[in-house]
């Protein structure tokens, strides 16, 4: 038995100065839909953040004489029933909607990862935490979200101001009710990782649990976390719009895409085109984010990469 270690020269491209993220990007590029989705999402984000610098009309400026006007040069998307410019309102609404989506996603992913890793890594906590996850999964979420918003809106609005209060409320309500899927996926991955040799090796040299989780476990569960984070943005945006659509979101003078859609529905008979822009913006954002998630899932899977 001659098991002399044969030195295999490193195959493939030289890895110096080239992190694995370049491989991920290479794979991501081959997914046409994902690339297109990323471009559309980038465009929407840039349009709502940089757009107000170019289109300087105030979203709350009331020009009552120009109310209900159709698309003109002065108002490319027309104006609403108070003469406010719909393009400016769309950009302001997009900022809020995307900010809500990103923040709620962050909360939900942080919570989900925390609970998933703890319950997968520490066997004693597993039963309790997974019981909690299953309990949350059995809760009727949309009714509870509506109730939460209804109950705490006044209190938070009083302490943080109507806009900030509603933002905090909606973001945390969505975050607290959407972490369960991430937690389940992460727990499954952690359970599988714990059986691997490198974890055993790290433990046998006496790595404390904290460093174990941060150095060895977390980097290896990063890809499912990233995918569920991407998809989380989409669900958060849809949930916020649904709340606004039911009239339980942000205050009326504070536009979000869902709120704009809700307001436009009242004028559906006279100006049906007005529901089009906010609805299209929501759908396009969600569609592009879903495609990005799809591409990321493929790109982050090393078994598919390079094929």
């Amino acid at each position: 038995m001659t098991d002399a270690p044969v030195l295999v020269p490193a195959t493939g491209p030289d890895t110096s100065g080239r992190s694995q993220w370049w491989d991920v990007w290479d794979q991501f590029k081959t997914h046409k839909g994902a690339l297109f989705g990323a471009a559309v999402f980038l465009f929407i984000v840039l349009a709502v953040t940089l757009g107000p610098l170019v289109w300087t009309l105030e979203p709350t400026f009331i020009d009552i004489r120009a109310r209900n006007s159709g698309p003109t040069l002065v108002h490319p998307f027309g104006t609403d029933q108070l003469g406010r410019d719909i393009l400016a309102r769309m950009m302001a609404g997009g900022q809020v909607s995307i900010a809500v989506g990103l923040t709620a996603m962050l909360i939900s992913v942080l919570l989900g990862t925390l609970i998933g890793v703890t319950s997968g890594y520490f066997r004693r906590l597993d039963n309790v935490l997974m019981g909690l996850t299953n309990l949350f999964l059995a809760l009727p979420l949309l009714p509870l979200l509506l109730v939460m918003v209804m109950l705490f809106r006044e209190t938070l609005a009083r302490s943080f101001g109507p806009e900030m209060g509603t933002f905090i409320l909606i973001v945390s309500a969505i975050g607290v009710t959407s972490w369960m899927q991430t937690a389940r996926i992460v727990r499954g991955e952690v359970l599988a990782l714990k059986e691997r040799e490198f974890v055993l090796a790290a433990r046998s040299i006496g790595t404390p649990p904290r460093r174990m989780i941060l150095r060895h476990v977390l980097p290896n569960v990063l890809s499912p976390i990233m995918v569920s984070a991407t998809l989380g943005i989409a669900t958060a945006i849809i949930t916020e719009s649904a709340l606004s659509f039911l009239g339980l979101g942000f205050p009326p003078d504070f536009p979000t895409w869902g709120r704009l859609l809700f307001d436009a529905v009242d004028y559906l008979q006279q100006y049906p085109e007005r529901v089009f822009w906010p609805g299209l913006a929501i759908s396009l954002t969600v569609l592009s984010v879903n495609y990005i998630g799809d591409g990321l899932r493929d790109a982050l899977d090393p078994r598919i990469r390079g094929r």
């Binding site: 299953n134 309990l135 999964l137 059995a138 809760l139 009727p140 979420l141 949309l142 009714p143 509870l144 509506l146 109730v147 939460m148 209804m150 109950l151 705490f152 006044e154 209190t155 989409a234 849809i238 719009s241 649904a242 659509f245 039911l246 339980l248 869902g258 859609l261 529905v265 559906l268 008979q269 049906p272 529901v275 089009f276 609805g279 929501i282 759908s283 969600v286 569609l287 879903n290 495609y291």
Partner: protein, 335 residues
């Protein structure tokens, strides 16, 4: 299997009790006063008597236990009385809605048919469309049919019901006045014409809800079929000389239906949640709309009962999905 079902049912009880407690505690924080809409001319001592009668000032645990007693004991008794004509429940207080001043369950019974008709039919239609689409796109993977199917289901995922519903109204009720945009609940089907009217008013909400179901299920069906198409038994069946139709629809389909059936069962409660928005758009006065109005009107007994019924549905469907999985898949045995 029976012991498994029994054990799961027993396990469901503490879960449901906990959920009802969570809902109750959340609602208990509500700032609203149920007597706020009473005239201001009521003298304070009378007002206090009304509060006592509603039991508003008793401690939280008393109110929770009272609700639990009414939900789990009094209401079933009422149902038994109604079904077989006994009178066990005489003199027992039922859950009363603050908004309607009537027993909560009487109102729910009025609303259930609309929800079941619209939501149930939509789910059925969605499943009926999704399964063939999933089968064909898996069999002809990467064909134009598959590409179109993928794209359409992506759109179904991404376009929320409050936009697709409004779009349908714009196209099919305003631009082309084919269908009514508002669901008329008072319509009684008694002849052929009123039946046609009923079908027309149900078309739009059913289409919106079915689009959602189709998008999710057809993807799932496709993935499950693809999983099975590469197995050895498929090659064996083909080698035995079976026709493609038999291979696909008897061998592969039966095996790929196992996970799909459980997903169909799991989707039932979520469709009730999604129906809240659709019912609001088309003004269907079903359960979802009842919940929204109850939340607006601060009608806590109604919200508590409805939210709990939704939770029961979720737990029950989870149980059904698990049991179905065990029944359909011989590899899975719950001892």
């Amino acid at each position: 299997m029976l012991t498994f079902i029994f054990r799961r049912l027993l396990l469901a009880i503490p879960t449901l009790v906990l959920i009802s407690l969570i809902i109750f505690l959340l609602l208990d924080l509500a700032p609203g006063d149920p007597l706020a809409d009473q005239p201001l001319s009521i003298p304070p001592e009378v007002r206090q008597k009304m509060r006592d009668a509603l039991g508003l000032d008793s401690p939280a645990y008393v109110r929770y236990l009272l609700w639990a007693k009414q939900f789990f004991w009094v209401e079933p008794l009422y149902f038994i009385d109604w079904a077989i004509g006994t009178n066990f429940s005489d003199g027992l207080q039922r859950i009363v809605s603050w908004q309607f001043r009537a027993p909560v369950f009487d109102i729910i019974v009025q609303r259930v048919p609309q929800t079941l008709w619209v939501v149930g039919l939509a789910y059925l239609v969605g499943v009926m469309i999704a399964l063939p689409i999933g089968i064909i796109s898996a069999y002809k993977q990467y064909s134009w049919f598959d590409q179109v199917g993928t794209f359409v289901s992506m759109i179904g995922f991404s376009v929320p019901p409050f936009f697709s519903g409004v779009l349908m109204i714009v196209f099919f009720a305003i631009m082309l006045p084919w269908f009514p945009s508002i669901y008329d609940t008072t319509l009684v089907v008694h002849d052929f014409e009123s039946f046609g009217q009923q079908v027309r008013q149900m078309t739009l909400p059913v289409m919106v809800l079915a689009l959602q179901t189709t998008a999710q299920l057809s993807r799932f069906m496709r993935a499950s079929m693809l999983d099975n198409l590469n197995h050895d038994y498929v090659r064996t069946a083909r080698a035995k000389g079976m026709t493609e139709k038999v291979v696909l629809l008897v061998h592969v389909l039966r095996n790929s239906m196992i996970p799909v059936v459980t997903v169909i069962a799991l989707g039932i409660p979520s469709i009730f949640g999604g129906a809240i928005i659709t019912e609001q758009i088309f003004k269907v006065n079903g359960l979802g709309q009842l919940l929204i109005t109850a939340i607006y009107a601060n009608d806590l007994p109604m919200v508590q009962t409805l939210a709990f019924i939704f939770a029961v549905l979720i737990v029950l469907c989870n149980l059904i999905a698990d049991v179905l999985y065990g029944l359909l898949d011989p590899r899975i045995r719950y001892d």
